[in-house]
């Protein structure tokens, strides 16, 4: 069996009050992993650790079979597409959608004398998220859901081997969410791309992912496709007052007001 695309070995973040502790995880080529957990569980931190944005206080990270170190970080991360949860400054820049997506091309940061225009790749990424007709639109004028689709296209445009998505369906309508999950499933199957996606809605993603990791500081349970996550795990992650609701064959944790956890 080939080396995993991502291998996390006893990862710990934080010293006294750990944000993540004892995280062991392997993701192979073509695998679609969903990560669920309550707010503050360390889901985004886990993605930041994989991309080297946060250095773990203990443990070891391998990407594409190589140790993620200072010297090879740049080369390894060129094969990674990433969608962050934070979008603080982007509305300040007057850029067309195509320009925004172009910034996601691997090697876009090369000096100006190197050609990086690849209109086919940009059109392909925009087409995949259903935003090709908006390629010349001012990014600032798009709705929240449309902006999120463009961000996904920016993560896809470099044709990464590993895609890390932090709540990609945020601000998207239900059909948009479903199309996104279908697209990601297709990329895993057709291109062998590995996807790690943080999401809150386990019911929505369970039909598409290969496995779901339940995270709250540490991975409490790693369920494979079709497997029911035990009620005790949900209660352990979200608290004793969580009511359990069945949806198809899946289990969804609900808060006292009936909100999905």
């Amino acid at each position: 069996m080939s080396a995993p695309i991502v291998r996390l070995d006893h990862i710990r973040v934080g010293e006294d009050a750990a944000i993540l502790e004892d995280i062991d995880l392997e993701v192979h080529a073509g695998h679609f992993l969903g990560i669920v957990g309550p707010n503050g569980a360390g889901k985004s931190t886990l993605l930041s650790v994989i991309t080297g944005l946060i250095s773990p206080s203990a443990g070891h990270i391998d990407l594409f079979g190589r140790c993620l170190g200072r010297l090879n970080r740049r080369r390894l991360l060129r094969q990674v597409g990433y969608l962050s949860q934070m979008h603080a400054h982007e509305d300040h820049l007057p850029l067309r959608v195509a320009c925004v997506v172009r910034m996601g091309l691997a090697g876009y940061d090369a000096p100006l004398w190197r050609r990086t225009r690849d209109t086919d790749q940009i059109a392909e990424a925009l087409e995949a998220v259903g935003m090709l007709k908006h390629a010349q639109t001012d990014f600032r004028l798009l709705s929240g859901g449309q902006k999120q689709r463009v961000r996904v296209a920016r993560a896809l445009v470099r044709r990464p081997k590993l895609l890390l998505l932090d709540e990609p369906s945020a601000a998207m309508d239900a059909p948009g969410q479903e199309k996104l999950y279908q697209l990601l499933r297709g990329l895993c199957e057709e291109r062998g791309m590995s996807v790690i996606m943080v999401d809150h809605d386990v019911a929505a993603i369970s039909a598409y992912v290969d496995s779901v990791a339940c995270l709250n500081k540490r991975i409490h349970y790693h369920a494979i496709k079709g497997e029911r996550i035990p009620d005790t795990i949900w209660k352990h992650m979200y608290g004793e007052h969580v009511h359990m609701v069945r949806h198809d064959s899946h289990c969804i944790g609900c808060g006292p007001e009936g909100k999905r956890a």
């Binding site: 990674v80 962050s84 934070m86 400054h89 850029l95 067309r96 925004v100 996601g104 100006l112 990086t116």
Partner: protein, 270 residues
């Protein structure tokens, strides 16, 4: 117009002024994209500390001011991360501190032959051959920095976290950006002075922001606005015997007001 071009003083000032306009226009797009307007205020005022050091210790003026500006810019790049205080607080602190140091050093010097009014408000008409050589050297360094890092700077301006996650060394490029901004500030001080330099580093891009929708167009428009504003400003300065730096900045302000009005009317018409 012909009077203006026939004047040997104006003709000598025109080339360095246009060079400064081109470089400041290119960098102003990055200054506005990265929201570094206040940084340019801090760095330009910090040059007074450099001037103070040059006067007090009898050092060469422009190189000392350049070193002081770069040092302050790099301190500002590192300060927020290291100290946990905001960049605006750091800028205000260094701006006031450097200004005070400059004033103390200059007033303590036995004698000095620095044109302080020219340094504060700019005077491109008194540019010397040494100044021109220094301007060309600085312009070359800024151009190389831009050719090398412009795309990475755009990525960082748009989304620094994603850029970093994609392997872009954000801290390195940010340090380079602050250094190049500091060099551009030093160039602009010759034309607009310490007090008015921010105008040259903000206004051309601010005008372009209404019309450009891609990095290349923003740079082109910013350059056109900067060249037009500088030429018109110098002509106004010549014909009405006004300070050149202030004339250029006020012309750019008028172009900004015009751009804003036209964009607002266009938006209302839609």
């Amino acid at each position: 117009m012909m009077d203006f071009l026939a004047s040997p003083v104006m003709l000598a000032a025109l080339l360095p002024a246009m060079l400064i306009a081109m470089i400041s226009a290119a960098m102003s797009v990055m200054v506005v994209a990265h929201r570094l307007s206040f940084l340019t205020v801090g760095v330009s005022h910090a040059t007074l500390a450099g001037l103070g050091l040059a006067v007090f210790f009898a050092l060469p003026l422009l190189p000392t001011a350049t070193m002081a500006a770069i040092a302050v810019a790099l301190l500002l790049a590192a300060m927020p991360r290291r100290s946990g205080i905001g960049e605006d607080v750091g800028t205000g602190l260094l701006f006031a501190g450097a200004m005070a140091l400059g004033v103390l050093l200059i007033s303590s010097a036995d004698k000095y032959d620095v044109d302080l009014f020219g340094m504060l408000f700019g005077n491109i008409l008194t540019v010397s051959q040494d100044d021109i050589r220094w301007l060309w050297l600085t312009a070359a360094v800024v151009c190389i920095g831009m050719l090398f890092a412009a795309r990475a700077w755009w990525m960082i301006a748009f989304d620094a976290a994603t850029a970093s996650a994609g392997g872009v060394p954000v801290r390195l490029y940010r340090g380079l950006l602050y250094t190049v901004v500091a060099l551009t500030v030093i160039m602009c001080v010759k034309l607009a002075g310490i007090v008015l330099t921010t105008g040259l580093l903000v206004l051309p891009a601010a005008c372009a922001w209404f019309w450009g929708r891609s990095p290349v167009v923003l740079w082109l428009l910013s350059s056109i606005f900067a060249l037009a504003g500088t030429l018109a400003g110098l002509m106004i300065s010549y014909h009405h015997d006004l300070p050149s730096g202030a004339s250029v900045v006020i012309t750019l302000c008028m172009i900004f007001a015009l751009s804003w009005s036209v964009a607002w009317l266009k938006q209302r018409a839609l």
